[in-house]
């Protein structure tokens, strides 16, 4: 049963259509949850005992960090699927993850820095979380560089897929080595805002933001992926119907 569904999605016209239907169902809930989460996090949730109102940055920092790793993993998994089953659709989805993932890695770094300045006094510390995020950003930028450097689509897909897989295998090792290194030198670590220690009034908006971010990422990846699928299809009678039928099937997403 699931295999049938998987095979269907592998077909470009099916994916194009189905993704087109899913996008609004992902985008609008993402927007709604995002608004609820932001309002709750900024206005309704109580201030923190130690960090006052400043901790609220977590409501954008943590989801961004989550998105940065989640997107990289998704990029690598779809890349592996594309390589193993020679599926253009999978490569299309994989390619669609990179810019989004890199953007949110950058946001995680910037908001982390903005959080750090009032809390520990400097704009930057070699905190294990921030250092790992920085390395993840380099991994993304390398991927994007490789994408841009190879012109032929099929070669570009497969080489970048390999890079994504090599990267994802390395990410836990890199995280571990950075944690290990950090524990030796006891550099300050500010983001010790343990989820277990947060009361529900603070935790719930955070979870809402996580959900919003994930749905948003899924929606945007599908928007891009539909285009990427079009790029990879040289022939195919379905294309005429697809692009004639609805010119902007991407819908209106917003925050």
């Amino acid at each position: 049963m699931t295999w049938l569904w998987f095979n269907k999605l592998a077909s470009p016209p099916h994916f194009y259509r189905i993704a087109g239907r899913w996008i609004p169902w992902l985008a609008w809930p993402a927007a709604l949850l995002g608004i609820i989460g932001v309002v709750w996090g900024l206005a309704v949730a109580p201030g923190d005992y130690q960090q006052g109102e400043g901790y609220r940055i977590i409501y954008v920092h943590a989801p961004s960090a989550w998105l940065s790793t989640f997107t990289y993993t998704a990029m690598a998994v779809t890349a592996a699927i594309g390589l193993i089953w020679r599926m253009n659709v999978a490569h299309a989805v994989s390619a669609s993850c990179a810019t989004l993932g890199a953007s949110f890695t950058f946001v995680a770094l910037a908001t982390g820095s903005l959080w750090g300045k009032p809390m520990w006094g400097t704009w930057w510390e070699w905190d294990p979380r921030l250092t790992s995020e920085l390395l993840l950003l380099f991994l993304y930028l390398g991927y994007l560089g490789l994408r841009g450097a190879i012109e032929e689509q099929s070669r570009s897909d497969r080489v970048c897929a390999l890079l994504a897989i090599v990267g994802v295998v390395n990410v836990p090792i890199i995280y571990y080595s950075v944690e290990w290194w950090n524990s030796l030198h006891q550099a300050p670590s500010v983001m010790k805002f343990g989820k277990s220690s947060m009361p529900a009034s603070m935790l719930t908006p955070l979870l809402i933001m996580f959900a919003s971010g994930t749905l948003f990422a899924a929606a945007l990846v599908l928007v891009r992926a539909r285009g990427e699928v079009l790029r990879r299809e040289r022939a195919g009678n379905w294309i005429a119907a697809a692009i004639g039928a609805n010119a902007t099937a991407s819908g209106r997403e917003g925050e």
Binding site: L42, E53, G54, P118, R224, G227, A235, A240, S250
Partner: protein
């Protein structure tokens, strides 16, 4: 009104909290824009290819 201003000041962390949320919103909007533009460009490319194939046949 003063309650609103107090909230805006974010307990003197305003200079950090608001740019954080603002940057995040900016990146969200940019990504929406880039994704939709990428899709539109792919559609235009597909249309051009279709037109070329039709003119050849």
């Amino acid at each position: 009104m003063s309650g609103f201003l107090t909230w805006l000041s974010m307990g003197k962390y305003a200079a950090y909290v608001w740019p954080s949320f603002g940057l995040t919103l900016l990146v969200v909007v940019l990504n929406i824009h880039w994704a939709r533009r990428s899709f539109r460009e792919a559609q235009a490319l597909a249309r051009r290819r279709l037109a070329m194939r039709r003119s050849e046949s």
